[in-house]
């Protein structure tokens, strides 16, 4: 009864604070929507559907088959479904480069004089004429993408010219190998566990340690101690409050996931059980911070700094392979890395790595020990 009343009071207190609800509940969901909207297309089989603009400069007008083929290629690219390519003719190379510098176009294609002499070779006459197109580009990401796509298109065009459009007796089959497991790689499945863990880490780094200190500093703990409520009741209520907030955050994320292509495995027993395991063991950060930091003024910056370092070095947003070697040691010992790996392993139908169990457990046990020793002192002094 005492625990229930205390928990209800604490939950009300928590839910009245906009920052708690925002960072724990709304922010991970917002980030999930933002990331999925931007990146999910990049990671599909067809890749991103880019919005790229080319300039075309003819140093000498093309004619005959060459003219037809290349204008056909440009037209085909412009009308390709899902992509937004445009080709515009420019009067001179200088004008094209100026347009490129002004970001009006991403790359400039230049047909040199005599390019159409390859016509003879195209129609099968004894000619060794080769046409070389000049492709002007900058180092902007869009420009590099435009360059790579154009190379690919010309490669294809060359084949069509040689075969005169006839079919090559070679059939292709595409197979994907996934290092993550059996399930095809989908960005939604990569980012969803990360956002769940983001909610858990927000509670662990901020809500729990700052909440504990706040109750000490506001004298709430003193008042609770003066009441018939026992310390264990207080801690049970505190944990129940954190889990209530977390549950709400997860519910919102799960609800949002129904609008996206997230694997149904998020409802599997294994995933939910490991999520619970993550929710408990990830509290080690909060326990550790609470054990060693006694003032909100110190806790706020320290937890912020550690939170961001942990987030970026645990593979939540990108795989830790891209983290340079001298920083990777933190990724290796960081329980968040192993927890997100564990959740992803389930979604990608991979066995959960053993490190995803023992590293979080070791951290949790150590942190809990330090926390218990410290909190006994806090309770006694209060």
């Amino acid at each position: 009864m005492k625990v229930r009343s205390l928990t209800t009071a604490m939950i009300k207190d928590h839910f009245r604070t906009f920052e708690v609800i925002f960072w724990t509940v709304l922010f991970p969901t917002g980030l999930f929507i933002l990331f999925t909207s931007i990146f999910s297309q990049v990671f599909t089989e067809g890749g991103v559907e880019p919005d790229l603009h080319y300039g075309v400069h003819y140093e000498e007008s093309t004619y005959g088959l060459t003219d037809g083929i290349f204008r056909g290629v440009f037209h085909e690219m412009e009308s390709a479904e899902g992509s937004d390519f445009t080709f515009r003719e420019v009067d001179s190379r200088e004008a094209g480069i100026e347009l490129m510098r002004d970001e009006e176009i991403d790359a400039l294609i230049e047909f040199p004089p005599g390019f159409s002499e390859i016509n003879e070779r195209i129609i099968g006459e004894d000619s060794e004429e080769t046409g070389t197109l000049q492709l002007y580009h900058t180092s902007r990401s869009e420009s590099l993408l435009a360059r790579d796509i154009f190379h690919s298109v010309i490669d294809e065009a060359n084949l069509q010219i040689v075969t005169q459009g006839q079919e090559i007796p070679m059939e292709f089959e595409q197979q994907t190998v996934t290092e993550e497991g059996e399930e095809d790689f989908r960005y939604e499945n990569f980012i969803f566990p990360a956002m769940l863990l983001l909610s858990i880490l927000t509670i662990s780094f901020f809500d729990m340690p700052l909440g504990l200190l706040d109750y000490v500093e506001r004298g709430v703990l003193k008042k609770i101690n003066a009441s018939p409520v026992k310390p264990r009741h207080y801690y049970i209520a505190l944990m129940a409050t954190q889990f209530a907030v977390l549950l709400l955050a997860m519910a919102v994320l799960y609800l949002t996931s129904t609008f996206y292509d997230v694997s149904a495995r998020i409802y599997s027993l294994a995933f939910i059980a490991y999520l619970l395991f993550s929710s408990i063991t990830a509290l080690s950060f909060g326990l550790l911070l609470s054990a060693f930091i006694k003032k909100t003024a110190t806790m706020a910056p320290v937890s912020n700094i550690l939170f961001f370092i942990t987030m970026f070095l645990s593979g939540l947003y990108f795989e830790v392979e891209v983290v340079p070697g001298f920083l990777r040691w933190y990724s290796v010992i960081n329980p968040a890395t192993h927890l997100v790996n564990g959740l992803r392993a389930i979604l990608f139908e991979n066995p959960i790595p053993t490190a995803s169990f023992y590293i979080p457990v070791l951290w949790f046990a150590g942190s809990l020990g330090a926390f218990i020793i410290n909190q006994k002192k806090v309770m006694q002094s209060e």
């Binding site: 990671f43 070389t132 197109l133 910056p301 990108f318 340079p324």
Partner: protein, 353 residues
């Protein structure tokens, strides 16, 4: 310059450099980004890296020429080929039979972006091999053009982008600190009880934040040079003007955030949301062409986009009309300055009464 102003500036300087959170977000956070994303960009190079193509099955040795300029590795069986792909030994695998070929691609976070290019290249190479394709009729010669005065690489764009984001966060969060936190803590009231003038308070507090921004930019410049050999050709005179004007502009932006959200804590949350949004729409970490069409205009609404533009101009990697450069800087100083004067009246002068 009077002694009071100098002493106050010194005091703010000490307070600022003791504030761990300010130091982390303005100086260390960009460092973390430079290290992680710089490494990511350097891994990708300028998109000219050679791929490793694995092959197994029935083929003649002359197939290697069709994969040029990329590297070819041979495997005895399809299983070995798949394993090599899974282990990261090759980027793409192809199992070739008489008239059929299976192209194996790795589906992972790192390889998916270039998957479509890999697949198309390998399929075309095999088609060419199948018909004994001798010579390309059309070739493409790449010509890298400098978008500004100097030839730049992707990493140069990243570094200047991170500088812009650092100026944004430094300015925006600083204002919330100066007007929000100091007011809440009663610091302004105490200062205003002394003969100090409101402008002295605002200018000295702002100056320290500008200095912190300057130091942050210096750290980014030298770290990028040390780690990735980035040598940005900054004209230091113009560069200093940009730091000053954009710091004032972003402080003004911070005032706007504070006016909209009113409470310091809510303003900090609002500023953090805006920072995240600006990070993703500022075109620093990925091309704007990747953002869905309906959201691309957002980038043009964000002040950080223009700060990054002027920084890239000052670094010589982008071109800009001098009049446009002057106009942007005037807007930063004018609008930012006006908002700071307004904030000084609203948050500081009122405490004097």
């Amino acid at each position: 310059m009077n002694n009071r102003f100098v002493n106050l500036t010194k005091t703010f300087m000490k307070e600022t450099f003791r504030n761990k959170l300010d130091i982390f977000f303005t100086m260390l956070f960009p460092v973390l980004f430079i290290i992680i994303f710089g490494n990511l960009f350097m891994l990708g190079g300028n998109g000219e890296e050679a791929w490793d193509i694995g092959i197994a099955g029935e083929y003649e040795s002359d197939i290697e020429a069709y994969f040029s300029p990329h590297e070819m590795a041979t495997y005895d069986s399809e299983v070995e080929l798949q394993q090599a792909l899974e282990d990261g030994a090759v980027d793409v695998g192809v199992h070739l039979r008489e008239e059929t070929a299976t192209v194996y691609l790795l589906e992972s976070f790192q390889s998916m972006g270039e998957g479509i290019f890999l697949q198309q290249f390998v399929e075309n190479a095999i088609r060419k091999y199948a018909i004994d394709f001798e010579e390309e009729i059309t070739t493409v010669e790449d010509q890298l053009v400098a978008a500004g005065d100097v030839e730049a690489f992707e990493i140069d764009y990243l570094v200047t982008g991170i500088m812009g984001l650092s100026l944004l966060s430094g300015g925006m969060f600083a204002t919330i600190g100066v007007f929000g936190r100091y007011k809440k803590q009663g610091v302004i009231k105490r200062f205003m009880a002394t003969p100090m003038k409101p402008w002295e308070f605002v200018v000295s507090a702002s100056l320290t934040k500008v200095l912190l921004n300057f130091l942050s930019i210096l750290v980014i410049v030298y770290l990028a040079r040390f780690l990735y050999g980035v040598t940005l050709g900054f004209h230091w005179g113009i560069f200093l003007i940009i730091i000053l004007t954009s710091s004032i502009g972003m402080m003004g932006f911070g005032v706007l955030v504070l006016l909209v959200f009113k409470k310091t804590e809510t303003a900090l949350t609002g500023a953090s949301i805006l920072y995240v949004i600006m990070t993703f729409f500022s075109r620093v970490y990925f091309p704007v062409a990747f953002i869905p069409d309906q959201f691309q205009w957002v980038s043009r609404l964000l002040p950080v986009t223009y700060i990054i533009e002027v920084l890239r101009y000052a670094a010589g990697i982008e071109e800009m009309a001098v009049s446009y450069f002057l106009l942007l800087n005037l807007i930063f100083v004018g609008v930012g300055g006006l908002l700071l004067i307004f904030a000084s009246r609203m948050f500081v002068s009122t405490e004097k009464q």
